[in-house]
Amino acid sequence: MNPALAIHWPMVAVLVRRAMNEILRVPGAAIPGVLAPTIFFLGLTAVFGELTELGGFGTDDYQSFIIGVSLLQGSGFTGAATGVNLARDIEAGWFDRLLASPAPRPVILAGMVISAALRALIPAAVLLTVGFAIGVSWPGPFGLALAIVGVMGLATAAACWGCALALRFRTQSAAPLMQAGMFVLVLCTTSYAPREHLQGWLHTVATINPVTQVLEMVRQGFLGTVTWHETWPGLLTIAALVAVLAAFALRGMRRMAD
């Protein structure tokens, strides 16, 4: 952990606790975030299940192939929702209270994004439960751990992205932009099929889209084998995305006073 963050840990902890109220104290608040990726997971499995007949999927069970995308979709949307919540806090004036306090800006950001990483575990838990119930392959403890790292890491990056946009536009009207950004990043990957089956532009985009690396890392356990070769690019991508997007969010926070 960053030493500065360690010193300010109590501040981060109270901000995380406050952000978790959104889920813990509003009845049913977690449902939309859980429902959408679960419906997509079940729907895509039912609709595109026969695609595995094309070969090259690494499995005959489409649900084992698609679960990784649904996990990242849930975490991406949960992270983007953090941006929507921040925009609401800015509109309501609550964020001024934090900015007028002596809490360092990175601490305020950390409070928001860590809560997003934790909240992303809720849709992930539901998806995995439903997935195993309909026959998703057991990824093994290491594969499962990597899936969770991917889910929490992408939620952190998505929260930074959402926060950066919230700080730029300062209105909840920017919500579609936050969600659409994550939608594009997560789905313009090898989401529906392996790279060799992707058509034209999507083949190119999926190759350069860094989230493809995260998806391959998350997916590998469910397809049977976990290798370092499929893991390190994903870890590196998460670190880079978080670093870059956090820098944007912090710059946005500094510019709030302009």
Partner: protein, 261 residues
């Protein structure tokens, strides 16, 4: 006659307000245009290899097949957005202002649906243009395209009336917004994205009997094959069924709302 003209003007002006409102609020416009477009792009690029599956129907390309699904998805979401906007009007008290005006109360709902119809038509034309840009061949030509726009416009009114009924009954935007995931359940359980014969059970069986599949087929036929009387009749009957359900429920909800105040 004068009353009819006055109500028609109210419907037209409320419809225009509804369209303006949608394009001025990104939250309402994005689900209608942005998300179906992104999903269309990703599904076409990602699952396009499906046309190589032996049982897949003869089409010029996967986009030709998917276009109808995107249009129906868009008009379902347009209907839902209209319902959300109506519920927001109810929450903010804007409809009370209209209720005390000397116009038919049903004109208020019809005004909203007129706006939804316009959004349906706009979205249909948008996807037709998208199709043209990316190489879709419209087998039935201009007449077929006109039929597609007609089906999508009518479907938008039908789906919008169901959302309006929920808005009028509950008066809460969050409840109508909560229908969003259900739209995808209905879509995934239809032939919007894939032929029924290639879907997994039990979704395949549900899709065969889902009236939404008939609407999708009605919109898809002019692109990928030929328009048949039977197909058009099924599409029309399905849309009429959805509209009857929505308008009936809307009338009941409106009556209840006016009774309870």
């Amino acid at each position: 006659m004068a009353g009819l003209v006055a109500n028609a003007r109210v419907v037209a002006s409320l419809g225009a307000r509804s369209v303006r409102q949608t394009f001025r609020r990104p939250q309402l416009a994005a689900p209608i245009v942005v998300f179906p477009s992104l999903l269309l792009a990703v599904q076409t690029g990602g699952a396009g290899g499906a046309v190589n599956l032996p049982q897949f129907p003869e089409v010029n390309g996967f986009l030709d097949f998917m276009l109808a699904g995107a249009m129906i998805q868009s008009c379902l979401l347009a209907g839902n957005s209209g319902g959300i906007a109506l519920a927001v009007d109810l929450e903010m008290g804007f409809t009370d202002r209209l209720f005390v005006a000397p116009v038919s109360r049903y004109a208020i709902v019809l005004g909203r649906l007129a706006g939804t119809a316009a959004l349906g038509a706009i979205s249909a034309i948008y996807y037709v243009v998208v199709g043209l840009i990316f190489g879709v061949t419209y087998e039935e030509g201009v007449g077929g395209v006109a039929l597609m726009v007609l089906w999508v416009t009518l479907a938008a009114v039908a789906f919008g009336s169901i959302a309006a009924a929920i808005a009028l009954r509950t008066g809460r935007a969050s409840v109508v917004q909560g229908m969003f995931p259900m739209i995808f359940v209905i879509l995934f359980l239809s032939t919007a994205f894939f032929p029924a014969e290639l879907m997994q059970e039990p979704a395949a069986t549900v899709a065969q009997y889902n009236p939404l599949s008939f609407v999708v087929a009605g919109v898809r036929d002019p692109v990928v094959s030929v328009v048949t009387g039977a197909g058009a009749l099924k599409a029309f009957a399905s849309i009429a069924g959805f509209a009857a359900l929505g308008l009936g429920l809307s009338a009941l909800a409106m009556r209840r709302r006016l009774r309870l105040g």
